[in-house]
Subunit: 696 residues, 2 copies
Amino acid sequence: MAHKPWLQGVGLLVLCLLTRQTMTSAQQLAPNLLPIPAKLQTGTGSLRVDAAFSVALTGHSEPRLDRSVERFLHQLALQTALPLAAKPANTPKATLVIHTDHASKEVQELGEDESYVLEVTSTGAKLTAPTALGTMHGLQTFLQLVDVSTDGFAAPAVTIQDQPRFPWRGMMIDSARHFTPLEVIKRNLDGMEAVKMNVFHWHLSENQGFRMESKKFPKLHEMGSDGLFYTQDEVRDLIAYARDRGIRVVPEFDMPGHATAWFVGHPELASGKGPYEIERKWGIFDPAMDPTNERVYKLLDELIAEMAKVFPDHFFHIGGDEVNGKEWEANPKIQAFMKSHGIKNNEGLQAYFSERVQKLVTKHGKTVVGWDEVLVPGVPKDIVIQSWRGQASLAQAAKQGYRGILSNGYYLDLGWSAARHYAVDPMSGDAANLTPEEKQHILGGESCMWAEYVNAENIDSRIWPRNAAIAERFWSPEDVRDPASMYARLDFIGARLEWLGLTHKSYYHKMLQRIVGPASPQELSALRTLTDQVEPVKDYTREQTAPAQPTSATPLNRVVDAVPLESDAGRHFGELVDQYLASSCHDAAAEARLRTQLTAWRDNDAKLQALEQRSYLVKDVAATSQDLSALGAAGLAALDAIAKGQTASDAWKSQQLAVIEQAKKPKAQLLLTPAAGVQKLVEAASPGGACFAAKP
Amino acid sequence: MAHKPWLQGVGLLVLCLLTRQTMTSAQQLAPNLLPIPAKLQTGTGSLRVDAAFSVALTGHSEPRLDRSVERFLHQLALQTALPLAAKPANTPKATLVIHTDHASKEVQELGEDESYVLEVTSTGAKLTAPTALGTMHGLQTFLQLVDVSTDGFAAPAVTIQDQPRFPWRGMMIDSARHFTPLEVIKRNLDGMEAVKMNVFHWHLSENQGFRMESKKFPKLHEMGSDGLFYTQDEVRDLIAYARDRGIRVVPEFDMPGHATAWFVGHPELASGKGPYEIERKWGIFDPAMDPTNERVYKLLDELIAEMAKVFPDHFFHIGGDEVNGKEWEANPKIQAFMKSHGIKNNEGLQAYFSERVQKLVTKHGKTVVGWDEVLVPGVPKDIVIQSWRGQASLAQAAKQGYRGILSNGYYLDLGWSAARHYAVDPMSGDAANLTPEEKQHILGGESCMWAEYVNAENIDSRIWPRNAAIAERFWSPEDVRDPASMYARLDFIGARLEWLGLTHKSYYHKMLQRIVGPASPQELSALRTLTDQVEPVKDYTREQTAPAQPTSATPLNRVVDAVPLESDAGRHFGELVDQYLASSCHDAAAEARLRTQLTAWRDNDAKLQALEQRSYLVKDVAATSQDLSALGAAGLAALDAIAKGQTASDAWKSQQLAVIEQAKKPKAQLLLTPAAGVQKLVEAASPGGACFAAKP
């Protein structure tokens, strides 16, 4: 599952190339839709949505459709606060008439028809779809269309013909490193439905926990989970919940590595001597299953049989990533087996293991999904590769006839901006050069929420709203890629996701409240002035930069745990600087706004001093606070120089750049987002700078 | 239940007298405790609360205690984000050792011992209590003590001996006018526990709904609730939930008036001809039970028997308020009955009815509670009067030997400030002159949340945090009454209540988001600049000022539904003005802060213009927005005049006061809270004004 560095430059380059793309017409016409539909035509006027709003279901009927309309009505009532009927009215005169043609598969299949047509006119709306899957997607589109207007709530007249670009649009949640309570998963499934994702990949076992109840091998969850596991009944309930939202559930049991928690109750599966304990630290560890031990396959055979019954999906994920081979190398029996079987190296041994496990999965009626590492010569063609390595790896697999899904570029825990994830396309890079037939093998992608630094409190904020940008990448036509449009819609739809019960916005204030304790509103506001401008360190640098070795028991209560991974305020400051510089420093309104902001920063550190003395969690960010004030002062000095119409001196410039360099250094595992913008201002005010170059 | 105006001046006068009271020592020593304990002594140092924190239960044991410690640990983990053990450790070395002496009553009784002693030292904590009730209160106190400190979380060393001032500390929720979902009630019970309230009075029937399942008379809830009712199983579950939190549940079935919803399924109970429909409007209505009809008593006998089994509490509330008598007067049979029985008027008829119903309640083993109206000559001495009329009425009852609880002054729907509620004391006014024996009859009080304008979305904000101030009135010693201390603690504890799942703070942003629709962050922020400074109209003026007759189907989505009933920002502005004027206008820092705020208001209306054109919910407050800008301009003009050192002219003063008068007029059912403060500034700047009078 790839906790490894990668080619970080590529995504950024793609982003830069796309930033100036023009919007497609759908983007211009439907500012509030996310993902943008395949085809959209605007009509005249709008459909009023008031207390008389009603829904009728026609054509194919099934209880799931009734429930989805009930949820739709509930959601619409929340969005508008209108006292709507709780159930479909089912009169032909209903405001929204739905026609579903036929049933979808009993177990949702990859590639089922998910299309729908939605027509809204000023007198009514019609939603038609071949199957319930399309109907559910269309209902979500309708919800996004409804908004406050000049005289009530309304949906604009529009005709939408929509279907997804990719059939596999997934999100993975790692419920093993930190346990994810079921209600958290449920609200995230609600969020996935809202942005038309259709696969929930559930990472259920890890070095740090085996989270699934096994009735056959209860020691797995009883000894491997600290009591934090899902019962089979709970899982069945969750699968039904997901199916009600058009979402498949693919379980992952990661093996032969990432499996320490299995060995606490079943040390006989491991290649080392044991005993084993649940791993508390993060990283890649030595313990691995023993591929030479027949007892391993016997247990896996029965376990997969058991799990294959609980999880109806046709796919079954066996992990397969990041085995360091140390236990294998240290075990003479394993070494002897390799020699006697002509297995040359650890990769060969893992290939042997994979092949055995794949046969078991196939025997129990499922298709294997695995991380890049499972793709070794000779592996059967029906497996699906989930690539953390990237499009090149995926393209290579596709050329050999293997299906694949992209996760490289969609790791939510890396702290990338929504724009950076958005710029990653499963069909770009090497994949762009595939033949049409080969391209068919690329099924889509999955965002991944690895859980070292997330818990029930902050996980939503690590997933949303950025995950919605990724969802659009998987659903919308390839040419929908304007980041400005995406951000505008993300601001709005992102906020709306809170109506579903997601807490990615509301959590923030609560976490800050904990950090400040009994502070005055002014102090809390001063902390927020600071925290709005920082982001956690990016990629996999949190462990190296941590004040102490982080473990699963490390409290996630610091500023780095509280701030969103992407700072909206930081992005807006950067845009404001660009706007000001684009005007050759003539835009007085932009200058005034910059001054207000920079002054607030300059003066902010003083306001935090007392609080730093009272709360260790505020003290943690004392140096960052000083840096922000220094950035404020530097930015103001630059604006002053520009206002005077005098180029600042080289010495001044060096001095300011030193301040900025200092501010750019991560402290308390935080990055100050305005550093780059302030640097631009300083450079613009300096000899040869943008302001003076173009000053009339 | 008293939707009537009352003596509004009294509370305010009391408030003014108290504002300058000095704090008691407990208030000074325990800034974060609410309610303030009866006795508190500070020690040296503090107890560190880290991941090793543990709890042991000794003495009397019962599952409820285990559960309360589990909730305590869960809550402490939320507060600190520490990975605490989920269960009591029960080793003698535990950080917090609890000793409970004996069991409390199986059905919680009025006046049970709720005391506890909590000792915290730098090495550990000890909580001892006679019964589980005291233990639970002590755990809540401990939670309030724990806070972020210089090097982690800690509780200050302290010794607390605590018990309540009143044995009946209640909150009533009207679940009839708007249905209250169970999860909303549960989170409010959590809030009640946090501030040591011990009675949940559940108003279950009204003209607008009969919300309780009756298996004996299913037409009551089936035809009288629009399907929004509580099943008996749900109610039993809720009662157990409340008992787990030391809270009694007293049901109210309001009769003979406020009962239209009963008559939809049972028109034979009414005094009019029928047929009846569920009432959709608010107010006092004609329908009333027929006191002369034996079928009424037969049904009530069986219904009370049924409900007496579901609700174990010893008290049973029969309402009895606000019968207008019109149906009685219009019914010849009733008039004939009155004549033949020597009943002179409607009051006499109601007394006859009350007496009959009281006998039924007594027969089924319960004690009657009723609103003031049930107190008529000859009524048995064991009934409890809930007074919406006030202390005088309560004192009169006490003199006659009747027990009473005060609700006058604690109606949460009136929109009063926390300080105004806080100033109301059950023992003040006529009650202060009672003998010690008579005073014993005053059991405490109840806050009341009437539900014309609340739903699941905004109800928490109509209850909290103000209800915590009322809770302190009922628990803490009589001399704990400094509003400044109360507000300081309310700010902090109020915010903490959100950890329990209450939404009284987080709801606000969501409601504003709905109002603005897809607006820019700047626009949303401009709306908030306005809405932070307004409060809904006070007392019972919402109906008269409504743009259209409000009903139970009126969407609660306007600004008046979204803003808190008490504006914190408005209060802070008023304090800032007072601070500035108290300095004889010399406090430069205060002046600068005033200028910043007034300037933001002056410039705010322009920022809302575009939004007003897009959203009818923003347009609704267009005039209020203009008023706020006018207030900003007037305040700035006053500061300018003061800065110049010149008294502004009388003509100028009249002009500004006219602007302020205009701003004081409610619009969109909103009051602009800064109007009074700006008026003070204008007057201070005018001939004879405070600034010039004292200017050196």
